[in-house]
Subunit: 111 residues, 2 copies
């Protein structure tokens, strides 16, 4: 059992993309992602995914054209099977709470 | 699907104690707790519980005398079956990721 300082963990990341499991919680986990890019369109067939922004701005695009733009302490849960992509606006630090080892299916960009 | 602003949710709480489910994520949930008190000693027999502080200072006391003192963006995961209590230092806002409907067993104060 130990205390984790999420901003200190994020500050230690020097790569342009890193996504790591910070804590396991039952069969779920808390992941910390630091990135400056746009991720591929994808979905998780069996797993909801909760996003929570720590630093910066994170856009989450859905296939129907909806975009959520999240700043610090803003959150959205993407239901299982929903095609989405994350898009960092500058350098973004965000948390994901999701099933440990959730399957990810990468898909083509929506028309 | 909707965006949640966790600080705005917390700011709207006028009670001295409130603990509400903000989002369901698979068979888990994100809870937002706002309180100014010391909670009873307890444990969750089957469920780990991750704490993440939003505002203020939260002490988490364990039965062996260990105390974690968490400020904003600091986190600790309490394993299933571990007797603990939360203790707000002033008004505290914190998140919990845990199993939806996890059983709670209240126990006597440790000797």
């Amino acid at each position: 059992m130990h205390m984790v300082d999420l901003r200190a963990e994020a500050a230690a990341v020097t790569e342009r993309y890193r996504n790591q499991v910070i804590s396991q919680v039952n069969t779920s986990c808390l992941r910390l992602a630091v990135f400056e890019e746009t991720y591929a369109w994808h979905h998780h067939p069996m797993a909801d995914e909760l996003f929570l922004v720590v630093e910066g701005l994170l856009a989450i695009d859905l296939a129907d054209g909806t975009t959520f733009e999240l700043g610090p302490w803003q959150s959205v849960t993407i239901p299982a099977g929903t095609v989405h992509r994350t898009r960092a606006i500058g350098r973004t630090v965000n948390l994901c709470f999701e099933t440990l080892g959730a399957e990810t299916i990468v898909v083509s960009a929506p028309a």
